[in-house]
C-alpha cells in the first residue's frame, strides 16, 4: 500500500494578510511604516493613541513633517538627526529616546527603534516602533531628584569637616603643633576619600539610572590635563613617581562635558599613580588620529594580568595582583570611567602587560557630543580608531 503523506494546508494569501493585520493592530507599542521617501503607509491603533491623530490625518503624509520630534527643551530636532533619517542613510537599526509632539501640541517622551526595510541592497521603506515612556521619565526624574538631594545632604557635613580642618591647618585659628597638623591632615585624607566615594557612587547611580546630564562645551583638554596633573602631583611626588604630559597635537579642543571629561581623565591618571610602584613613571600623551583626539595614560606599574583583562571595566572588580599590594581601591573607578566615556560618545580601552605597565587610551570625537533627553543608543559600527 502506498504511504500517504500528510501536510498542513498552506495559508492563503488572504489568511496571511488577516493574520498580519491582527498582529499589527494588537501590538501595544506604536508602529509606523513608511515608503522609501518617508511617506507614512501604515500606523497601528497604539501609535494613533500615543500621538492623538486619526488614521486619515496621518496616512500618506511625510513622516518627519507630520510627526515632529523635539528635544527636552522643546526645540525641533533637525531632519538629519532624526532616527528615521539615520536609519535610511546608515542602512541599520537606530534606537533613541526623544519627544514627539502630539496633535494637541503636548509632547510625549518616546523610546524609538527604526529599522530600514532593505530589498536588493536598496531601502524600500522603514518600520518605526515607538513606546510612550512618560512613566519611566517621571521615575527617572524622581530618581535624579533623590540623587541630587542625597548628594547634597551627604556632603554638607563633609564640607564643614574639611573646611574647618583646612582652616586649622592654614592657621586661621592660630598656630598649631606639628602633631596637631599631622592629625588634621589625617582627618582631611579620610574626608577626601569619603568625598571621592560619594562622588563615585552618585555618578554610578546616575549612569545606571540614565539620569546623568551631559552638557557639551568647548573644552581645552590640555588645560584640563594640566590642572589634573597639578592636583595629583603631590600624590605622585610622595611615591617618587614621575608624572608628565606630552602634547603632540594642536587639536586640543573638543566639544564635550567638562565635568565628565575631567572625572574620566582624573580617574585614569590617579589610577595609574596608585598602581605604579615607587620610582616609576606615569606619562600622559595628548595626540590626534583623524577626527578624534586621543589621550593615552601610560604607566610603568603592576599591569593587568591577562586573565583579569576581560573584567577590568566591570563593577567592583579588582585584579588579584593589585589586591595584594593596594588595599584602598573600591573596584569602581574603571567601571565609572567606562560608563562616563560612553555617555560622552567616547571610547576607552587599554593595553597591558603584568609587571611592565598599562596604557589606557581615551578617544574623543572632536565634533559635537549629542545631547538627548536621556542616554541614546545608536546601533552602528564603531569607527573609533584604535592605536596602531
Amino acid at each position: 500500500m502506498k504511504a500517504r503523506s500528510f501536510r498542513l494546508p498552506d495559508l492563503s494569501a488572504a489568511e496571511e494578510r488577516a493574520q498580519a493585520e491582527a498582529l499589527f493592530n494588537s501590538i501595544g507599542d506604536g508602529v509606523i511604516t513608511t515608503d522609501e521617501f518617508g511617506k507614512i503607509t501604515r500606523i497601528n491603533p497604539a501609535g494613533l493613541k500615543i500621538l492623538g491623530y486619526k488614521e486619515s490625518e496621518i496616512l500618506d503624509k511625510w513622516f518627519p513633517q507630520k510627526i515632529v520630534a523635539v528635544d527636552n527643551e522643546g526645540k525641533s530636532i533637525n531632519l538629519i538627526d532624526r532616527p528615521i533619517t539615520k536609519a535610511f542613510l546608515g542602512g541599520q537599526s537606530i534606537s533613541e529616546r526623544m519627544y514627539y509632539r502630539k496633535k494637541n501640541g503636548d509632547t510625549v517622551p518616546v523610546s524609538i527603534t527604526v529599522s530600514p526595510m532593505i530589498l536588493n541592497n536598496r531601502p524600500i521603506g522603514a518600520v518605526e516602533v515607538f513606546r510612550d515612556i512618560t512613566v519611566e521619565f517621571e521615575i527617572d526624574r524622581m530618581k535624579s531628584e533623590f540623587i541630587s538631594l542625597a548628594s547634597h545632604q551627604l556632603r554638607t557635613p563633609l564640607s564643614a569637616i574639611k573646611t574647618y580642618a583646612h582652616m586649622l591647618i592654614d592657621g586661621y585659628m592660630g598656630d598649631i603643633t606639628s602633631a596637631q597638623r599631622k592629625s588634621l591632615q589625617t582627618v582631611l585624607v579620610a574626608a577626601n576619600r569619603m568625598n571621592e566615594l560619594i562622588s563615585t557612587l552618585l555618578n554610578i547611580t546616575r549612569i545606571e539610572s540614565g539620569s546623568i546630564t551631559v552638557t557639551p562645551k568647548h573644552v581645552n583638554l590640555q588645560k584640563i590635563i594640566e590642572e589634573i596633573i597639578k592636583e595629583l602631583d603631590h600624590t605622585a611626588l610622595a611615591k617618587e613617581v614621575t608624572l608628565s604630559l606630552h602634547v603632540t597635537t594642536k587639536q586640543v579642543s573638543v566639544k564635550t562635558d567638562p565635568l565628565i571629561i575631567k572625572e574620566i581623565i582624573s580617574n585614569l591618571i590617579s589610577n595609574a599613580i596608585k598602581y605604579t610602584p615607587e620610582h616609576g613613571s606615569v606619562t600622559v600623551k595628548l595626540y590626534s588620529r583623524g577626527k578624534h583626539t586621543l589621550i593615552c595614560v601610560e604607566d610603568t606599574g603592576f599591569g593587568i594580568p591577562k586573565p583579569a583583562q576581560a573584567q577590568i571595566f566591570t563593577k567592583f572588580f579588582r585584579a588579584q595582583n593589585v589586591v595584594r599590594r593596594e588595599t584602598s581601591g573600591t573596584g569602581l573607578g574603571l567601571y565609572l570611567v567606562h560608563g562616563l566615556t560612553e555617555q560622552i560618545g567616547g571610547k576607552v580601552w587599554f593595553e597591558s602587560e603584568e609587571d611592565k605597565g598599562t596604557s589606557f587610551y581615551l578617544s574623543l570625537p572632536r565634533g559635537t557630543t549629542s545631547v538627548s533627553p536621556r542616554k541614546s543608543t545608536t546601533v552602528k559600527a564603531d569607527s573609533t580608531p584604535q592605536p596602531s
Binding site: R155, A160, K162, T163, M167
Partner: protein, 127 residues
Amino acid sequence: MANILIVEDDTDLNAAYKVILENEKHTVKSAFNGQEALDLLKDFEPDLILLDLLMPIMGGLEFLQNYELQEKHPKVKVLIFTNMENSPEVNEAYKLGAHRCIIKSWTAPQNLARVIADALEEKPATV
C-alpha cells in the same frame, strides 16, 4: 577689596567662609537664605555673591530669578557654591547668569579665596 555677600544656610560653613574672606580683607555680609539675601541687598551693593542653591525659605535659583541678575545687576558676579555636582539645578543657575559653579566639598579655603580673586579680576572661568 571687594564687597561680598555669602548666602549659605549652613551656619558653620557660612561662618567659616566669612572668616576666610575677611582674612583676604573683603567686606563680607552673611545671609542664610535667598529672602534674607534680597533684604540685605536693599542696603548693600556687592561685587560678588557666593550662593548656595539648596536653602530653606528661598533657594538659590529662586533668589537669582528675583534678583534679576542679568537684567538689573550684570556687573555682579555670582559664584554658585553647592554640593549638587553636575545637576540640572547647576545648569539652570548658569542660564540665570551665574559666573561659575564650585563644589563645596572639593574646595579648600585657599582655593576659595583664589577662585573669588579670579572672578573679581574678570578672569575667564576655568573648568
